[in-house]
Each structure stands twice: as structure tokens, then as C-alpha cells.
């Protein structure tokens, strides 16, 4: 293994840091880009936002990042029974893995914190299932499968109907 070559910071770089800290300390407690940062060799390789798309699997609350595709709880039920039920239990309850269904009030004495009463967020569920489930084969589900499973979990928790379609705009 070859050792990386090391470059020492230039004197001008060090002075730049000192001045920047003084400036920030006196005037600007808020973050301001580019000021208090030591100099690096700037070796990062430019990429386009498009080239990153295959890696970008983030889904945000307003729906940014949701891919094309669709699914309903009816379809999701079949996927769930085939892929998820072994760990999460029949209808998402009573398995070894996380309890997914339940609507007991959260101010009760021992509430299960489920999709139904604690995290009923479609984009969160989509984001998590797509990246992490099933445990033995993450990133293996099609977009339609993930939409259908998301719909099924929301249906089991009484949030959507059995035939409501989940897609990038719903």
C-alpha cells in the first residue's frame, strides 16, 4: 500500500484562518460560507447533478425524490405477505421485528409506537422501505412494490383506503 503524499498548509493559508476566526468572532455568530475554512488542495472531481441520480434515493416530505410508479394496498398486501410478514407478523403485528400497526393513544401508559400512531408519513415510509427493506435484500424492490407496500401500511393503520393509489403526487 502506498502512503498518501502529504502537503503542508501554506503560510498564507494559515494567516487566512486566523483572520477569518477573528472576523467571525467579532461580528458574525451566524454561519457564513467560505470564511472560516482552512484551505484544501481542491481535488474533488466535478460531477453533474444528473450523474448522481442513480445514487440519490432520498425522498423528502414534500415529495421531492419520489420516482415514477404506483401501487395500492390491495397490491401491497400480496407483497407484504410474500416479503415482510415473516418478520413483521400477519398484518404488521406480533412479529419479531418492529410493530407496524397500532393506533393506541400516545399518552397512554405503554403505547407501541407504530406507523399508525407515531410515524404516519408516506414519504418517510417510502424512503425507508426502498433503501432498507427487506433486510436480506435491500434496494431490491421495484418502485411499484414500494408504493404498494407504503399504501398497505397506511391502509392497515386506517389512514388510506384499500384502493387508494400511491404515486409521486398523492
Amino acid at each position: 500500500m502506498s502512503m498518501p503524499s502529504l502537503s503542508s498548509p501554506s503560510r498564507s493559508g494559515l494567516r487566512r484562518v486566523g483572520r477569518a476566526h477573528l472576523f467571525i468572532g467579532l461580528l458574525l455568530p451566524l454561519w457564513t460560507p467560505l470564511l472560516a475554512v482552512p484551505e484544501g488542495p481542491k481535488l474533488g472531481v466535478s460531477i453533474t447533478q444528473e450523474s448522481i441520480l442513480p445514487l440519490d434515493i432520498s425522498v423528502f416530505p414534500e415529495g421531492t425524490g419520489l420516482p415514477p410508479g404506483k401501487g395500492t394496498a390491495v397490491e401491497g398486501k400480496m407483497q407484504f405477505e410474500a416479503l415482510c410478514q415473516g418478520c413483521h407478523g400477519v398484518k404488521g403485528s406480533g412479529g419479531d421485528a418492529e410493530e407496524l400497526v397500532g393506533r393506541s393513544p400516545l399518552n397512554g401508559s405503554r403505547p407501541d409506537q407504530t406507523v399508525g400512531n407515531y410515524w404516519p408519513y408516506a414519504t418517510t415510509i417510502f424512503d425507508y422501505i426502498r433503501r432498507a427493506m427487506p433486510l436480506n435484500a435491500p434496494l431490491s424492490l421495484s418502485n411499484d412494490q414500494v408504493y404498494a407496500l407504503t399504501a398497505y401500511l397506511l391502509y392497515l393503520n386506517g389512514i388510506v383506503t384499500e384502493t387508494s393509489e400511491m404515486n409521486a403526487t398523492t
Binding site: 474533488g44 448522481i52 445514487l55 407515531y118 418517510t124 435491500p138
Partner: protein, 425 residues
Amino acid sequence: MSPTPILPPDDLEPVAGGGLLDRRMFLRQGIALGGAGLGLLAFDADATDVPRWMKTPGGPFTNYGEPSAYEKEAIRWISANAKAPGHGISWTPLHRLEGTITPNGLHFERHHNGVPAIDPEQHRLTLHGLFSKPIQFSLEQLFRYPMVSRQCFVECGGNSNAGWHEEPIQTPVGYFHGLASSSEWTGIPLSILLDEAGLQPEARWLVAEGADAGAMNVSIPIEKALDDTLLALYQNGERIRPEQGYPMRLILPGFEAVLNVKWLHRLQAVKEPLMSRNETAKYTELEPSGKARQFTFIMEAKSVITQPSPGFRLKGPGLYQISGLAWSGRGTIRRVDISADGGRSWAPAALQEPLLSKCFTRFRLPWRWDGSPLILKSRAIDDTGYQQPERSTLIAERGQRGYFHYNAIVAFAVDSDGSLRHVYA
């Protein structure tokens, strides 16, 4: 090590109830301490024979050293899902360690789907989103960047959560509070890379993602990312181990561990947090009202006595050293008080220097046990003035269903036979 506790001079009066002595006593008297650490478990060896290992050549060199074969109990305790062995935790055996640095092989683990076997030559770190110049780095490139080192703790937001239980858990300290470890981390200030990529002023969060199975992701506030966040490449001098995020991870000093994303491969600058599963379903704290706290990043001040502690037994009345760890995600530990009478009186412990911000701080105090039952406690105060709360205070404020961020004072009952157990007192 002598099994006999050393008696302090008779004129040395306790400074607090239960036999607590002045923290400077050992320095002043120059007394060697026989009862420290595992010496509590005294043994009776015949020390007059020449030991056999002095009469025969020792073992060969090793490429990478291992602990003594006699230290089989200084191990991580694994608690994983039987059906998904890569999903779970392992605990640092704090009760078997001294000082403030956690050995790399004993740093606690939390994996959501196993430890990925990442080939460093193929690994890339990508910065995209609200950057003027999205960029990607290989490790070879990153090794040319200026690095810094700092010691700090990493603590799981769920550490010590057995404290919420109705009954006090009876387990060694490390398997109760050992989802916390402390290391010297070396890496590149993340701000350098964010600067190079041209972070946009409207960016408020960074979504950090690991390259593990499950692509663990969380949102990090931009102020922290630009402050003291490190892209860490080394832990205690060696390259970060696979279970700690090889080849690179984030270190956010003082913030709950889930934000210190391991196996980091992607940073996406955005305006709003992603609301991932690990910042909604998990790492949020349900309160009695039925509402939950979210984005509670900072680990508040905590302390725990590591010796003497449950699982060990004091060998009769005499002089012992109380030793423990304190830390605060808000800054430096200013004081640790110890009580040997259930909290009626307190004595300040000696703090091991140097005192480092957001880092394990070792505290110690001499103690002369007269053999009677009593209750030991420790409480930490940090340099913001925050004082570790009693359990009853914490519960009055937060209820018992919050799961995460438990930092109440820990109490051990010492029985007359020298045994210790965890109590709520």
C-alpha cells in the same frame, strides 16, 4: 496487588458522609492503592515462588497485538436480533476499563443491517444538492487534505435507557451505560469539503447517508456541519475499523451517535430535513402529553461510577478508590460530586486532566468504607452550569416513555457483604 485494603492515617477525617475522603488525599499522602479497579476482587496468590514465566522464553512477536488471555471478560456484550444478527448493538465494557480512551476493539456498535465490507478503492464520497459545484472524492484524494485530531465521546441516543424501567436493571455498568465510547478521531474538517463544493447559503441541512445495507440516513443541521464536524478517517491512530465506519465516518462531537454516520458515502445539501425513519420513528422522545421531542441532538451531561460497581464485590472494610466517567455534549465537565450516603452529602471528585470538551472525563475519589450498607451516587456538572438530574426529576419532566436521552444520576447500593446492586434512590 495486595488484597489488603490500605488504611489511611487516622487523623484524616471524611469530607462527606459514608467515608468519602478528600480528593487530594492520594496525592498528598503518596499512598499506593491496593483496592483500585479490579483489585476489588482480591486474590490470594503465593507470591514467594519465582513465577514459571520467568523460567522459560516468552511468546513470539505478533503483527497485531491482542489483549492478555486473562482478560476474557473485557469484551463487548452483543445484543442482536436472533433472526437478523446484523441488527442490534454491542456494549463497551466500561466496568472493565480505566482512563478515558476506549480501545478500538471495544468501541460500542450499532448496526442496522450488518457491517459492510467496503473496498476503499471503490468507495467514493459524493457531495450534491445545494452546492454550486457537486463533487466526488476518492480516498486517495482525501488523504491530501489537512487533517486535525480531537478526542471526544460518541454516545448512542438510546444509551442508559434501562433507567426508564420500573425496576432497576441488574447488570454490569458497561451493559447499561456502555453505548458510549471515547476515542481520538483524526480526519478532515467537513467545512473544507463543503466549502470546496460551494455550499449554497439556502442550504440548512445535510442529509448524510452510509454505504451499508439499508443506506442509513439522517439529516444534520448545517450549523453543526460547519462547526466542529469531522470527516474521520482514523480512530486512536489507526484507520477506522469496519464496524466503526471504515473507510470514513462523520464525527459530530456531543451529538447523539446516529448522526455520526458510518460508512459515509453521500452528503446532500437541502433546505428541509428529510424526516427519515431514524429521525421520526426512532431517536425522538415521546412525552407524557403524547407529543414527541424531535431533533434532540445534544447528549446532556451524565456520569456513572465504574468502580466499584454491580458485579464486583468489596473485600471488607478499608480504603478504596471510587472511579468513574463523566461527559457532556454541551462542553467540558466542570465538577463531579460523589455521595456515599444516598445524596445527603456530596464531595467533589478529582478530575483527571486534561479536561476536554465533549469528551470522557475520568473522576476519582478516595473512600474509606466502614463495612456498613450505604448508597453511592455521582453527579456531573458541566461548564454551562447544567447539573445531571436525579431520576425522579428527569421522570417528572419527561415521563417514562421517551426511551432516548436518559441521563439521570445512577445509584448503587453497597451491602454489608461488599456486593453492589443498582437501585433507584
